[in-house]
Amino acid sequence: MTRQEILNELKGVFAPYTTNKEALNNLNDQTDLIADLKINSANLVDIIIDAEAKYNIEIDYDSADKMLNVGSCIDVISEKLNQK
């Protein structure tokens, strides 16, 4: 999967947790989940669980801690997909 494909799919993963639709539509590597998408920090857990289910991967605690902006989310997901 290309990074762009993952980015497009992440829009669907983030959608239920953000009310900032404009930032969601303009998603890029630098988009910050909390600062830009206004996602409640407690919901980052739900995003990780949803991503695990979507890609059938397991995201360990250390990797999850890195998933703060879209670029790092894609990094972690690509890495886990490559390990499969």
């Binding site: 239920p16 947790y17 407690a42 919901n43 857990v45 669980i49």
Partner: protein, 423 residues
């Protein structure tokens, strides 16, 4: 100086009507909200009927944010949010606020957190999948879930309390809100209670053999308070809420005033003198009513209507006996008495708030709602009070003072006195 406390907003999610206009129409016309529940037959319950609001889950999207809606599963929370936000809007208050309302608090009760939500937790933990529970389960399995959603949505910044006292919860919530305002701690309180009877809660009552089981094929006839053929109560689900305000606060903003809370009392019979975990000590019940009347400055003869607890068990006769004794009247001198439960069943924690909303509507619209399924009044009750005290059809009349009481497991009692608002 003690403040006067008035009711300025109402909201309800009842098995026989959601929203005030639908509920008013239902109680005026004796509309039953009791249905046959196929699942309860499948689960081998003895009672297979229940009062369930005709609630459309997606309607919640008009009340809370998309993000909050996503992941919400607790039905009792959904009922509570709906009733509370409807009452808030009915009082002419705006949902949106940047600053917390420091002068407004919330007392909202329930008996158990949503056990469907709890079941999800138990299943995942037992399957060694606790990691997959996500972030939204604590708020839905904690007892204060309903209160937290309501106060968060509206930005309530005064005392926010979840109360629980079994079937006395709803009346007690209103009383607690009343007391905060009366003593000057808050200018406004959003009060009420909610209850969702899922199969697990239902099953625990079914096991006690206290539920109606002879009318499974005639659900609308199953809830029969004060009837000779009353054979147990019918569990019901729902919620109701009221906005209570310091009279001065309400007048200053030009609010519409429905009625006044004159006073109330909440106590326990101490599980002594005939009182047990499940039965009330008559001395406690009578003391509670007496204290409520004294606190309100109301004489027993002034009561136009008693909205009883009256669940359709053997306790109905004892309840009427207690009212008669504490009010010092019987036969034709006894006030009119009715039970909303004949139409909606026993909504446990939500009973007191839904039934209190019914009291206010009877004061505002000048009527006494019928007791349905009372073609055969219990002769032992007719030995105490006259049959004319038990309306079977709606009576149009001026209603100035209503006494509302609920009694719960643990031998707890709550009584409120409502009055037409007089400047």
């Amino acid at each position: 100086m003690a403040k006067r406390v008035v009711i300025t907003g109402l909201g309800v999610v009842s098995p026989n009507g959601i929203g005030i206009p639908a509920f008013l129409n239902a109680i005026q016309n004796g509309v039953s909200g009791i249905q046959f529940i196929p699942l309860y037959e499948e689960l081998n319950m003895s009672c297979q009927v229940s009062g369930q609001p005709d609630f459309v889950w997606d309607s919640l999207q008009n009340y809370i944010s998309e993000v909050s809606f996503h992941g919400l599963k607790g039905t009792n929370i959904a009922y509570g949010i709906t009733a509370a936000l409807d009452a808030w809007a009915d009082a002419g208050l705006d949902r949106e606020t940047a600053e917390p309302h420091w002068d407004t608090g919330c007392v909202f009760g329930n008996s158990a957190p949503d056990s469907e939500a709890t079941k999800n937790v138990i299943q995942k933990v037992d399957a060694k999948e606790a990691k997959k529970l996500g972030s939204r389960v604590v708020e839905q399995t904690m007892n204060s879930g309903v209160t937290s959603y309501i106060s968060g949505r509206l930005g309530l910044g005064n005392k926010v309390v979840t109360n629980s006292s079994a079937c006395a919860t709803g009346t007690q919530a209103i009383l607690m809100g009343y007391e905060y305002i009366k003593h000057g701690f808050a200018g406004r309180m959003l009060v009420g209670s909610s209850e969702y009877i899922d199969p697990y809660i239902f099953g625990t009552f079914d096991a006690m053999r206290v539920l109606s089981r002879k009318f499974n094929d005639q659900p609308e006839k199953a809830s029969r308070p004060m009837s000779a053929t009353a054979g147990g109560f019918v569990p019901g689900s729902g919620a109701a809420a009221m906005v209570l305000e310091d009279l001065d606060v309400a007048l200053a903003r030009g609010a519409r005033i429905y009625a006044e809370v004159l006073g109330g009392s909440s106590n326990s019979g101490g599980q002594r003198g005939g009182g047990t975990m499940t039965a009330p000590n008559p001395a406690g019940v009578m003391r509670c009513v007496d204290e409520a009347l004294k606190a309100s400055g109301v004489d027993p003869q002034q009561i136009d209507l008693i909205s009883g607890h009256l669940t359709a068990t053997m306790a109905d006769r004892l309840e009427v006996q207690n009212w008669s004794q504490v009010l010092g009247c019987s036969g034709k001198n006894f006030p009119l008495i009715n039970s909303v439960k004949s139409m909606i069943g026993h909504c446990l924690s939500a009973a007191g708030s839904i039934e209190s909303v019914a009291c206010i509507l009877q004061i505002v619209h000048g009527f006494v709602h019928p007791n349905i399924n009372l073609e055969d009044p219990n002769p032992e009750i007719l030995n105490i009070i006259d049959q004319d005290c038990l309306p079977m059809k709606m009576i149009k009349k001026e209603v100035n003072i209503v006494a509302k009481a609920n009694f719960g497991f643990g031998d707890v009692n709550s009584c409120l006195i409502f009055s037409k608002f007089n400047k």
